[in-house]
């Protein structure tokens, strides 16, 4: 893009310049996860050095690896953020499969399509109960089977409740993937170009850049938490479906609404998914009562490839039969 405008001056358009000037925010970090993720991708596309326009009207060159969020070392990432224990609440009454959470998580962690940390399911518990959209990150269980079965200690549970994977230690045996009953983990079957977008050094807290032949999963974005930002999915959901907070403090927020966690769970009858398995997840769900949208809204404006993914669900099959 940069080369285009250099060699062919006539083609340089306002749009091009606008794109450059975006980066001209000079690694500017705007409020709101949407913009940050957007900026990050743009920065990656322009190449090693990036031309930046300062507000003083000067053009300077800035390294695209301008650090946005600090990354801690592998040893440090085994210790949790002190004095905290993180919990997430997902409001199923509001989810309409907008997939902003999925897309922003993908961008933030430089993941290819098909390797998603956050998945949205269309569940229907029984024939007579209503179908609902079910966003599912990793549950960061308090009794994590995936951690128990790892033979080399590549995945570990920290004091702040977050379960991370150290991709420099992982040998790729995939035992943890079979150990997780919620299918939260994904495997890098080959090297993807998206991994190269990230030039910062690897940190388990960032979960990026990905390593071929290792396992990865949702990490509750500790690198964002450390600078006071909410995880990508929480910040980007347009419906405010996902709440995040510290269970010791008893407060969760989705960026705009902030509630007392215990009160929220009590009043809205929150529960944990498949509690009977004994994994003790850190993610609570609020049942889809008084839904804001009918389930079919979840198919609006979906990519064809994404729509295909739901073809095998009982709900879609039933619709087809009619």
């Amino acid at each position: 893009m940069k080369e285009e405008s250099d060699n062919n001056p006539k083609k340089s358009s306002r749009r091009d310049f606008l794109k450059k000037s975006l980066v001209a925010g000079a690694g500017v970090v705007a409020t709101g996860g949407l913009v940050e993720a957007y900026l990050d991708t743009r920065a990656a596309e322009t190449g090693e050095k990036v031309k930046v326009l300062t507000t003083g009207g000067e053009i300077v060159e800035v390294d695209k690896g301008h650090i946005k969020y600090p990354r801690v070392s592998r040893e440090e990432s085994r210790e949790g953020i002190p004095g905290k224990k993180f919990v997430m609440v997902i409001d199923l009454a509001r989810c309409k499969n907008a997939r902003a959470c999925v897309e922003n998580c993908q961008k933030g962690h430089h993941l290819p399509k098909g390797q998603e940390f956050m998945k949205v399911y269309l569940l229907q518990d029984t024939e007579n109960t209503a179908p609902y959209w079910f966003p599912k990150p990793c549950f960061h269980c308090d009794n994590p089977l995936c951690v128990s079965v790892c033979p080399v200690g590549a995945t570990y549970k920290r004091s702040d409740g977050i379960v991370l994977i150290d991709n420099e230690r992982c040998i790729g045996c995939k035992f943890c993937i079979t150990g997780c009953p919620y299918s939260s983990r994904v495997f890098a079957w080959r090297h993807y170009e998206e991994f190269d977008e990230d030039t910062q050094p690897y940190s388990p807290e960032a979960g990026s850049p990905g390593v071929e032949g290792t396992v990865s999963k949702c990490d509750f974005c500790p690198d964002l938490i450390r600078v006071g930002k909410l995880p990508y999915c929480v910040a980007s959901c347009p419906m405010g479906v996902i709440y995040f907070g510290d269970i010791d403090e008893d407060v969760v927020t989705n960026g705009t609404e902030t509630y007392q966690f215990s009160k929220l769970i009590r009043d809205r009858a929150g529960y944990r998914y498949l509690e009977v398995l004994g994994t003790r997840p850190s993610v609570y769900y609020l049942p889809p009562v008084e839904r804001q949208f009918p389930v079919d809204r979840g198919f609006d404006g979906l990519d064809e490839e994404v729509e295909k993914r739901y073809e095998s669900t009982p709900y879609v099959k039933k619709q087809r039969r009619k």
Partner: protein
């Protein structure tokens, strides 16, 4: 010095070791070609990543793990047969003892290779040792398998020692100098004195007992790798004994097939008789009954309780995998029982055919344990590519499977060129009366 009996036997078996016939050469070349194909497939997998296999995010364990379980199971059967029969001092097992020992060690060396194929980062394999976590079933497996390999090697060596000494001393055999030197070095100067025989006997007894115990533990640990997870279909309490029984069952099948092959190739009709096939066949029958019992018990409990995920799994087995299920759990159980049970059907060829079917049935049984469970997890497979719903194995995986089988046969053939496939020293130990009995 070898005694008269030994010399007679050695004279008879010398041609096996001395030269390779044209057919044998073709056979070995053919096997080597398959192994070479396997190496090429391995190269493709290392160069392009695991994406060339059929495994994806839900079915993360496929044919490689099935082969691993299968070969480990075969190895265990060899250990059981040679170990138990040694401890029971059963006379009839003497001609087939060596085959059993070879099966044990060769399968034990091939099995773990399949795990290595399944590991994403082979360059970090040594992490299993330096960072090993005791709480992980895979660490238990690493410890158990290395202990097993070591134990079986010692056991094999103890069993081979006398024959090696016999050949070393047998002047009439025409073998190259380096071979004779090898035998001399391996024989540890064994001369057959009473003291030495006693020591050897004691050591072999101890190791036979150990090998049985170790094999049970190893295979149970392998079963626990599956049963300690929460996956519906794996989280079963009988997996430990179930896998052990299935292992011995498959090993019997392999044993019969190998017996038949060597009998044909080396014209050993005098030594490996119908009686041996029937005896091992009876063992196979008993194990078929036990295997059928365990399988029935497992699926009955799942089906009757009809817990949602158990039901999903059983429906999947009967929809997608119907004929495979029939082969492995009905045909594989009933056929050997019928063939060996009915006197008229009890011929060498029939028993061997049923053994081949048993081997296939048990491989399929392992496949049906590993793959359908992963295709029916707690959370339905959604929001991932539709082509990832079911496991589609690729040529890379099949090539490597074939290479493993070929390597098994190849190692056996090469091994038989170093040591007579029938245990000469033990055969010579028998009295004249028993000798006549065996020759019938």
């Amino acid at each position: 010095m070898p005694n008269e009996r030994e010399i007679t036997l050695l004279k008879e078996f010398a041609p096996q070791i001395e030269h390779t016939t044209f057919i044998q050469a073709i056979w070995m070349f053919f096997l080597a070609a398959i192994v070479a194909l396997g190496f090429y497939a391995l190269y493709v997998q290392i160069a392009y990543g695991h994406i060339v296999t059929g495994m994806r995010d839900n079915v993360v364990w496929g044919i490689y793990i099935v082969n691993f379980i299968f070969f480990m199971g075969v190895s265990y059967a060899g250990a059981l047969i040679s170990g138990t029969l040694h401890l029971f001092r059963a006379e009839w097992r003497k001609p087939i003892n060596r085959i059993a020992e070879f099966i044990t060690i060769i399968a034990l060396l091939i099995g773990p290779c399949y795990i290595l194929l399944c590991i994403g980062r082979l360059d970090r394999l040594y992490y299993l040792v330096i960072f090993g976590r005791i709480q992980s079933p895979i660490t238990w497996d690493v410890i158990a398998i290395s202990t097993d390999i070591f134990g079986c090697l010692i056991f094999l060596y103890l069993a081979l020692l006398r024959d090696i000494a016999a050949i070393r001393d047998f002047q009439a055999i025409r073998i190259p100098k380096w071979k004779r030197k090898l035998y001399t070095w391996l024989a540890l100067g064994y001369t057959g004195t009473t003291e030495q025989r006693e020591r050897l006997h004691k050591a072999t007894d101890i190791m036979a007992a150990m090998v049985i115990a170790i094999a049970v533990i190893v295979y149970s640990v392998l079963a626990w790798i599956f049963s300690v997870t929460l996956q519906p279909g794996w989280h079963s309490t009988i997996f430990g004994p179930y896998f052990v029984i299935a292992a011995v069952f498959s090993g019997c099948g392999v044993m019969i097939v190998v017996m038949w092959l060597f009998r044909k190739l080396y014209h050993l009709e005098k030594y490996i008789t119908r009686k041996h096939f029937v005896n091992v066949g009876v063992l196979m029958l008993i194990l078929a009954a036990l295997f059928g019992y365990f399988t029935f018990s497992d699926y009955l409990t799942k089906w009757y309780g009809s817990e949602r995920n158990d039901e999903l799994l059983i429906n999947l087995l009967f929809d997608e995998y119907y004929w495979l299920f029939i082969l492995s759990n009905y045909v594989g159980v009933l056929l050997p029982m019928v063939v060996v049970g009915i006197k008229k059907l009890r011929t060498i060829n029939n028993i061997t055919i049923s053994a081949v079917i048993v081997i296939l049935a048990l491989w399929v049984n392992r496949y049906l344990i590993v793959v359908p469970t992963l295709e029916s997890p707690y959370l339905p497979i959604q929001d991932s590519r539709p082509d990832w719903l079911f496991y589609n194995s690729t040529w890379v995986e099949w090539a490597l499977t074939a290479a493993g089988v070929a390597f098994f046969a190849l190692a056996f053939t090469i091994g038989s060129k170093f040591i007579p496939i029938i245990n000469v020293s033990e055969m010579a130990d028998s009295s004249e009366l028993e000798e006549e009995e065996i020759l019938i």
